[in-house]
Amino acid sequence: MTKIVYFAWVRERIGKREEELELPADVKTVADLLQWLQGQGDGYAHALQHPKVIRVAINEEHVDHREPIAGAREIALFPPMTGG
């Protein structure tokens, strides 16, 4: 099981803050995960329809979409940040 957390409009569209998911064995990278999640329901499809804009952190550090997710404790998906 992998903990996935969502923020901002990704969270709103998916309709939950976080969940524990059993990922299929062929979901090996961040890009794989985003593609797989899009098939999990309308909310996911809406949130992730433009996967290139989705920012990702694994274990609380920024990663790019080629990053392997094996061993990830927590994967966070969110829009481009607007802090400061």
């Binding site: 923020f7 901002a8 609380e60 550090e61 829009p79 481009p80 940040m81 607007t82 802090g83 400061g84």
Partner: protein
């Protein structure tokens, strides 16, 4: 003199004068202090408040990473970054950066660098609440902020 940056993520307001004093009192080698305060704008009256969402586990660690990089790149005597979250009204403070150094150029550059990276790397998101009670939008990231961060790439 501590060379560890101070980073705080908090719902409450901060005290500019107190944060500057913390980097200067009893440190007579400090010659220059630059502060940046970011405030919530009312956008011409249409905005009632901003709701700042953040990623608690990551926000402090990520800002500390950026602050440590600034300490490594410039000869600073102190560096503080405070970022608020929660509901913030127009005119209220959102973010504070304080950079202290022997000389002014280092303080200016480090504060500017830290702000540029905070804008595009710190896990915060702003949602608008409109003054007319209608549902507001999530603030969109600006390409200019990405560009501003990129100009510091070595």
């Amino acid at each position: 003199m501590s060379l560890k940056p101070t980073v705080r993520i908090q719902p409450d307001d901060f005290d500019l004068a107190a944060e500057v004093a913390a980097l200067t009192n009893g440190r007579p080698g400090v010659g220059a202090v630059v502060t940046f305060t970011g405030l919530c704008r009312d956008e011409g009256g249409i905005l009632a408040a901003l709701e700042l969402e953040h990623y608690p586990g990551m926000a402090k660690a990520e800002i500390a990473r950026i602050a440590n990089e600034a300490m490594n790149r410039w000869p600073l005597t102190g560096l503080t970054a405070i970022h608020r979250y929660g509901r913030i009204k127009p005119g209220e403070n959102i973010v504070l950066v304080v950079a202290a150094s022997t000389h002014r150029q280092a303080a200016f550059e480090a504060a500017s660098f830290l702000m540029d990276y905070l804008k595009s790397r710190a896990p915060f998101w702003k949602k608008e609440h409109n003054a007319d009670g209608s549902q507001g939008d999530w603030v969109e990231a600006k390409d200019s902020d990405e560009d501003a961060a990129r100009r510091w790439a070595k």
